[in-house]
Amino acid sequence: MLIIAILLIPFVLSVLSLFIRKEKALGIINALGYGLLLGICGLFTKNFLLDLRPLSLWGWLYVDSLSAFFMLTTAVVAFAASIYSIGYIHAEIEENRISLRKAAGYFHLFNLFCFTMLLVPMLNNLALVWIAIEMTTLVSAFLVGFHNIKESIEAAWKYIIICSVGITFALLGIIFFYYTSSAHAGIKSLEWVKMISGAHFFDPKIVKIALLFIFVGYGTKAGFAPMHNWLPDAHSQALSPISGLLSGVLLKISLYAILRFVILANFSIGYAFSAKLFVIFGLCSLAIAAGFILVQKDLKRLLAYHSVEHMGIICVGLGFGAAGGAYAALFHVFNHALTKAFMFFCAGNAVRVYRTNNMNKMQGMMQLMPFAGIAIFLGAFALGGLPPFSIFISEVLILIAGFVSKQYFVAASMFLFLAVAFAGLVHHISKIALGSKPQKMERQKEALSTKIALLFLGVFILGLGLKIPQSFFILLNSCQKLILGQ
């Protein structure tokens, strides 16, 4: 029943937001709701970890460790974003950038968006997963184009069209899977539980073609280069709490869909083919993103390209799957989700105060906003992968997996791109954070909600860097077993 509660909370909140006309009250109710959701999600995962038995409800919902992991990631980031939204939306209204009515609309869409994202990992039917992912695009397009100015509408248009085309290719992949499942295994259904039972009989050739379409299709939505060109636009134009959700969670939700098909394909063609695809897309993303990070002028685009880079790291990690890379890659999914949301929240404050996205015009953030300034400075190191932060651990684990599986070239080039991206990031962010503030600007008061959101994420980022809790370890391990088909 906990599962139903997880779906019900965002739904109820989205309806509530249509009736309450006070942005602060609405924001606080929203944050409380997501606090509850995170609690329920935690409780669910705890119960789930007792026996790790997949849970199936009426044939519609199916939750195994992979779903539980992605739900947990979504819940954590959504909770942080809902806290951050209180202060963010309040400030937007005070500065007359949006109206009260639009603020209510924001919370409505926020909840619908979270609802669709939480729904994806729970669904049993792979076609419904496809539809839920398409719905995440359609709902979040409104959040990308929220300000109704030229740039944001252009970004939203690109986002809808490119992601819809991508996902249409994924649909073709699904149809190929359905074809081989009905023709060779005799299963006329797209339900995960049924398909997996006959997955041994799938035709290897068709499965390979289908996987290619799945990778290109869902990969577009997951921000793999070279299909990534919508990503920096959409992620930089969205409101900052939403940018955090888009970069932190939505990309991973499509990765989840890819993983589902990889697991299905394992039974007939093994993991090697998927691993190869992961490595190709991963290296491509790393290379392209590293170049754009170096020359970037726009703060939020910088972070968006960094998401492409981190999707590349995750892919390379999955490519090293057999040697513990899958474990490290999933750990990186969690770490990147939290750290990227953290950085987007800091960047949101910076963009609001400086009234520009251009990094050359930002300076002395530490003097202007001590809390967010220090946070963005530390966050840059966390995102770049320095100890003692959690991303360091997952990146090192991925590199070790690469060396263990003797893929020296891939691991070495990943290390090189990481170094380039780290240098670019720290160079840009330190220029923003350090130095003296512009003379005509005064020290800003920082909203309490921002501080809470950043602290909440910061505790995780630092804590996971120091020690991985036993239960989290078990969850990730069980996911790794699932992905590798052991």
């Binding site: 039917n125 076609a127 419904l128 539809i131 398409e134 719905m135 359609l138 397009a141 409104f142 184009g145 109704n148 100015i149 030229k150 740039e151 509408i153 252009e154 970004a155 939203a156 248009w157 690109k158 809808i160 069209i161 819809s164 085309v165 249409t168 649909l171 073709l172 149809i175 359905y178 074809y179 009905s182 023709a183 006329k188 259904s189 797209l190 035709d203 050739k205 068709i206 073609i209 920096p232 636009d233 930089s236 134009q237 754009f292 020359v295 970037q296 002028k297 726009d298 685009r301």
Partner: protein, 212 residues
């Protein structure tokens, strides 16, 4: 016999789309293609005597022949869009590319997919060709609406592929797809109005503020 007629109908409408110079012509051809899709599913329904197929074909008639082209023409009427499509590739070359794409689909089907020489594989060739041509329309036409039509054409092709090689997806999955297409078109309508309002045109090649 009927099937062959319908298949050539699909291909001809797809080719017509690549040489259409005006948006209204594009919408009309899309409607015609959807009508062929309706007849195709109807013939499947009659052959298999399955109530679910009848429902699906009626839904195609309502949604793809009726509502979606209606919404698209309404958009064209409301925003007074210049009808010219501003082709990046001229019609003759477009047609040539479409032919090449069809040949490519033929090669793909007979050399890669293990269907053998059957009727299904003929349908499959056509559906892959339509998907490719839809994609080609998306990347080579510079109007927002033509991108939408390209995408809808791709979806027609995918629908055809699904019925050709699998004998139709599970019933409620198809219903869900229809729902998805419907929502997609509604949301696209909202955004086309917004684009038109802000840019005073719906020309994608002139959207250039986001770069790098």
């Amino acid at each position: 016999m009927v099937l062959m007629f319908l298949l050539s109908g699909f291909l001809i409408t797809a080719f017509l789309m690549t040489i259409a110079k005006r948006i209204t012509a594009l919408i009309r051809t899309f409607r015609l293609q959807s009508l062929f899709l309706f007849f195709y599913t109807l013939s499947m329904a009659i052959a298999q005597k399955h109530i679910e197929f009848f429902i699906v074909s009626v839904l195609i008639l309502i949604l793809k022949v009726g509502i979606i082209p209606y919404i698209l023409t309404r958009i064209v009427r409301r925003i007074n869009v210049e009808e010219n499509l501003e082709l990046l590739v001229n019609p003759q070359l477009s047609l040539l590319i479409a032919l090449l794409l069809t040949y490519f689909s033929y090669l793909f089907t007979y050399h890669i997919m293990p269907f053998g020489m059957s009727l299904e594989s003929a349908v499959f060739v056509v559906s892959i060709a339509i998907i490719c041509i839809g994609f080609f329309i998306m990347v080579s036409r510079m109007k927002a609406l033509s991108q939408v039509l390209g995408l809808l054409t791709m979806e027609n092709g995918i629908f055809l592929a699904a019925t050709a090689i699998t004998g139709g997806m599970p019933f409620f999955v198809e219903i869900a797809f229809f729902f998805d297409i419907f929502v997609f078109v509604i949301i696209i309508e909202v955004f086309v109005y917004k684009v038109n309002h802000l840019f005073t045109h719906i020309d994608i090649s002139k959207m250039k503020s986001l770069k790098g």
